[in-house]
């Protein structure tokens, strides 16, 4: 095959075939286009404001490393005037996080950004290794995911940072859209597809260090995983890749495999799924308070979001289809357990009637099409906003998921300790 010239400069040899539009680009033009598109995403969604402190949720993996590199480049090139820093979570998984945290430490030097590492042990009194020792490997991703979500917010709060950006990419979002579709969970669609999610400020405390008022955004939301990896490769970025040694969520692995297969046949499918997810999210009445675009696609998040264990640790090594199908039942069951516990423990407070929260009616935007969708309405009762009575974290339940999980863990701890002694 004769080498094709770059579609932009028409001079250099094309090395990259863009999945979204089949454009053939040289290395320089590709890097430039990739960065410019993320800049456009940032500008059109008004992700940043001048003077804002922004913490990059950094795992040492490809997505967050590329995010850090690109944001540093863009902040300098376009003078956003934001103060960037790295925030890492140490789940306490020996041999896994140790290496990736080393990578993050190098990134901190390479990008000249301050780094803060927050450990599960200091936040929750449990490392993931200890959690697994207690609960086994089934469903441990549930713990990890729930803990991580709060950990980033809490870590940001201690730094006085109100905005956390994460490296979720288009493939991650597409995968989550599919998962929500397959579970029949449309209300969650709008949250997972929103580029900005935020916990509401009004309902909670005035404490500036409160971890309940943190904005989250995903600047790489429209970036293909393929291009993220190619960007990292062509810029020789220093990132770490390994699988979380605790089993990946089976369902997510299957969704991911499906996405990758679709991409092979029809590369635009990934962005198409993302956009379909956005459109469907807008159609869901009362879908977790999203203003369907009118307020820039903002929406509030509770404890769950894109990504199970790690942001995109998913299928891959150890999580192959056949094995996945076998595990499927177990992991799903574990996850469902958590969900059911929550629903069961949901208290009947005065504002509620048949599980409906009156305050929800007040929050719903005018002109919403709520009356036409009784079935979905029922589903969305899980997403009524409130505060965890134990830790103050934003929660749809009286006690947030993390506290719930911790309660279960701590209950069993004395016994474990007696045995240990």
């Amino acid at each position: 095959m004769p080498p094709a010239p770059c579609a932009i400069c028409e001079t250099n040899r094309a090395l990259i075939l863009r999945p979204k539009n089949h454009q053939k680009l040289c290395k320089t033009c590709f890097i430039n286009v990739f960065e410019t598109e993320i800049h456009n995403t940032i500008i059109s969604n008004k992700l940043f404001s001048r003077g804002e402190k922004v913490a990059i949720g950094a795992s040492g993996g490809k997505d967050s490393t590329v995010l850090a590199s690109v944001l540093k480049t863009l902040n300098e090139r376009y003078d956003y005037g934001v103060k960037l820093m790295l925030l890492s979570i140490d789940e306490g998984i020996k041999g896994y996080r140790d290496d990736s945290l080393e990578t993050v430490k190098r990134n901190a030097q390479q990008y000249d950004m301050p780094l803060t590492i927050v450990g599960y042990d200091e936040l929750y009194g449990w490392t993931m290794d200890q959690v697994v020792e207690q609960v086994g490997k089934k469903g441990n991703c549930t713990y990890c995911g729930v803990f991580r979500r709060q950990a980033l917010d809490r870590g940001a709060a201690t730094l006085g940072v109100r905005h956390v950006v994460t490296g979720h990419n288009a493939d991650d979002i597409a995968e989550t859209v599919l998962m929500n579709l397959l579970r029949g969970d449309l209300p969650r669609l709008s949250r997972t597809t929103s580029i900005i999610t935020s916990t509401p400020s009004a309902s909670v405390s005035d404490d500036p260090n409160s971890h309940t008022n943190i904005k989250r955004s995903k600047p790489l939301k429209y970036a293909y995983e393929k291009e993220i990896v190619l960007y990292a490769h062509h810029k020789s970025l220093d990132y770490f890749s390994t699988e979380c040694i605790y089993s990946p969520e089976a369902f997510r692995g299957s969704a991911r495999a499906l996405i990758k297969n679709l991409e092979r046949v029809r590369p635009s499918a990934i962005l198409d799924v993302v956009r379909s997810g956005e459109d469907m999210g807008k159609l869901v009445p009362g879908a977790s308070n999203s203003c369907a675009g009118e307020c820039g696609g903002k929406s509030q998040v509770l404890e769950e979001e894109v990504g199970g264990c790690g942001s995109s640790n998913s299928s891959a090594l150890g999580g192959e289809m056949a094995a996945l199908d076998k595990q499927f039942g177990h992991n799903e069951a574990a996850e469902m357990d958590v969900l059911e516990t929550e629903i069961r423990l949901k208290p009947k407070s005065p504002g509620q009637e048949n599980g409906r929260d009156i305050s929800k009616e007040l929050r719903r935007p005018k002109n919403s099409r709520s009356k036409n969708a009784p079935t979905i309405e029922k589903k969305s009762i899980r997403q009524v906003m409130g505060q965890c009575s134990r830790c103050g974290y934003l929660s749809s339940q009286a006690i947030c998921k993390a506290c719930m999980l911790l309660e279960g863990l701590n209950k069993n701890r004395p016994r474990t300790m007696v045995v240990g002694e």
Partner: protein, 105 residues
Amino acid sequence: MASDTISITVEFTGGLELLFGNKKKHTVSLPGASKTKNPDITFLVNHLCENLMQDSRRELFVLDGGVRPGILVLINDADWELEGEEKYELQSGDHVLFVSTLHGG
């Protein structure tokens, strides 16, 4: 002129190296041109599975007879889709990189 072996560099990153003895860069010798045709990527992939892979989970690298979706292949830094994918005929000195996109974000 046939029967010579050709020598290429094969590299695994993005977590794939775990399947190949946790080593990223390998020098690989392949039987050279048989009359008209040099070994292609399909040949290389089979060769790697048979001779270089140290993990029994071949399906993490190859699926349905081809490179598993989600693994990028770069031939001399160019996307293999620009080079004819598995039909690309290898030349001595080529650098073939397999990158998994499937691992941790």
